[in-house]
């Protein structure tokens, strides 16, 4: 860190990780007052970015490389769900949209677990046939990242061969937004009005994320395999010496990352009401921004990072064109790298 501004370093030291998180939270409150709907929807959409980012950060922590194909794993998940919902399920009589307040039907709830299984199998097959061989050969980590770029391209090409290059509409039923109106009385005597509009689908996204993040917490802290995964992330050589089956840990890592990517990819498509072969690739920059913001290899950092990036992207549309959402997340990433390169919760030496 030669030549980095001393003032910057002194400030990061003074604030500490929770200090930074607190400052950002305060900022969020201010922004919430200004654009409450966008903050709420930003959190809900950000939870999907977070699910993807958690996968990337887990792969980082165990396999130590940047998984550039992660966005396209999400796309794969979305298209598999779509295939189930529009081809397989109708053939066996499972059809329907507009389940409760949601635009999608109950078949989605059946499709998701199947999609998860298919995507896990795909991720494990790729690891088995590609990444594992490169690891055994001692290939450099950047070269492995490049291979993941190749897989990203090939996967998107394959998806386009099967389903075409254009966007596809998902079967859905129009539903009205949840509408929350309230006022907060100010001590000065006035009142601060809030008017929040949330599509019910976004609520479903948020609840799914809560369940999945909770499950991951229990897995990492309560199960033997989960603890061994954290141990392997700490020090893979010591994990081997200790007798931990690191190959199995690698498989678990891929399975969790692929499962969360598949669900996030599908639900993002549901929230946008359309599929696009480019959707996952376009989410790559926000996801990596979330990973770096939270600190590489830190699942809870990726969660916080994903939510913050999601909110920033939504709120930015108050001032700039929505087309710039990926650029906004990239700008945040550059600021993080400039001010606090190890991210909010990252280790000092990362």
């Amino acid at each position: 860190m030669i030549g980095q501004g001393i003032g910057v370093r002194a400030r990061s030291a003074a604030l500490g990780e929770w200090g930074w998180a607190g400052a950002l939270a305060l900022l969020c409150v201010v922004v919430f007052v200004a654009a409450p709907s966008k903050v709420v929807n930003g959190i809900l959409l950000g939870s999907m970015i977070a699910l993807g980012a958690i996968g990337i950060t887990l792969i980082y922590s165990i396999l130590r490389f940047a998984h550039i194909a992660h966005g396209d794993y999400m796309t794969l998940g979305a298209y598999i769900s779509f295939f189930l919902l529009t081809v397989v399920f109708p053939a066996i009589g499972i059809v329907g949209t507009g389940f409760g307040p949601f635009t999608f039907g109950y078949p989605l709830l059946i499709a998701l677990p199947i999609t998860v299984v298919v995507c896990c199998a795909f991720a494990l097959a790729i690891d088995n046939s590609v990444y594992q061989r490169l690891r055994e050969r001692g290939t450099g980590l950047i070269t492995i990242a490049m291979v993941s770029l190749g897989i990203a391209i090939a996967l998107r090409g394959a998806i386009q061969m099967l389903w075409g290059t254009g966007p596809i509409r998902l079967p859905r039923e129009t539903r009205s937004f949840y509408h929350i109106d309230f006022e907060i009385a100010l001590p000065t005597g006035g009142a601060l009005p809030f008017d929040i509009r949330v599509p019910p689908d976004n609520i479903f996204l948020g609840l799914t994320a809560v369940v999945l993040v909770g499950a991951l917490y229990l897995f990492l802290n309560r199960t033997r395999t989960g603890k061994a995964m954290r141990a392997t992330a700490d020090n893979i050589d010591l994990a081997r010496i200790t007798g931990i089956d690191t190959t199995r840990i690698v498989h678990w890592t891929w399975a969790i990352a692929a499962a969360y990517a598949a669900i996030a990819g599908t639900l993002i498509a549901v929230a946008r009401a359309q599929l696009h072969p480019n959707a996952g690739w376009a989410t790559l920059i926000p996801m990596f921004a979330a990973v770096l913001l939270g600190g590489i290899g830190k699942p809870w950092g990726a969660l916080v990072g994903g939510l913050l990036i999601g909110v920033s992207m939504e709120v930015s549309t108050e001032w700039v064109s929505p087309a710039y959402k990926p650029a906004v997340s990239f700008a945040i990433m550059l600021v993080v790298l400039l001010v606090r390169p190890r991210g909010l919760f990252g280790d000092r030496d990362a």
Binding site: T139, L141, V147, I153, A323, A327
Partner: protein, 321 residues
Amino acid sequence: MDIIYFLAGFGILAGIYGVFTLGLNVHWGYTGLFNIGVAGFFALGAYTAALLTTAPPSPELFEDFVFGGNLANTLQLGIDLWFFVALACAAIVSGVVALVVGAITLRLRDDYLAISTLGIAESVRLMFLNEKWLANGSRGLSDIPKFLGDFVTPKQYDLLYFAVVIIVLAALYFVIQRAINSPWGRVLRAIREDEEATAAAGKNVFRFKLQAFILGAAVMGIGGALYAHGFRYVDPMVFDPLLATFIVWVMLMVGGSGNNLGALMGAFIVWGIWSGTQFLPPEINNPNLRFFLIGFLLVLVIMLRPNGMIGERRRVSEGGT
């Protein structure tokens, strides 16, 4: 005779891809910098040259961008010397963007650069797509002036421009070759092989990496400018990652990273195969199949022939123990 014009058209693009692979070779082949945003520097170079040299917007064409440098008409330095001003400015703009992003990311982990270059490419594309006042948005810039266009018929322009591209490519090749074989270039390769040992030997690794990043980006900017004056039309679709970044990686890896001649061979061979597939019968001539094959080829080359056809004999991609 038509075959000659066809070959010239092919050669122009292959030569421009050669410029990109040379730039990428400075990044990856010699310094080990993972740049997956070639498209960003390509676009910056192409738009810089185009905006500097085209005439201001014409109301008849419903163009509503603000700035057209019109250098081709205002800068009468001998015979079309504005062209070299345009190339130089393209190199400078790409280089400056590389300086800013490199200064932030090159001190950090290697893969931060990859994500950042991806971010540059996407942000640049979004900017040119959405800021209509800047470069006419999705409708792009047309009528970009020809270099030495007054001396040939429109049909012959491709032949002439092919020669121009080859001359520029050769010049860049010799400049890069000299730089790489200088003491400066040896430090770059030392960084690629063992960054810590190079730093321990007292070299400011960050500074060398930044210089190499700027050099490679500037070369890519020149490639973009060459594209603009060769095809005389640019729009944001040109800078789609597949044909502006991914294929360049395949060219470099197939030809052999760490070897400039290999990089050029890769560009011509891969572009030859790519162009050749358009003559395939329509049943198997599927653009998405080609998309798939680009990725598949990248994986395959790294797995089976990590040094490409004529890469350096050193370990280029087999790092660590």
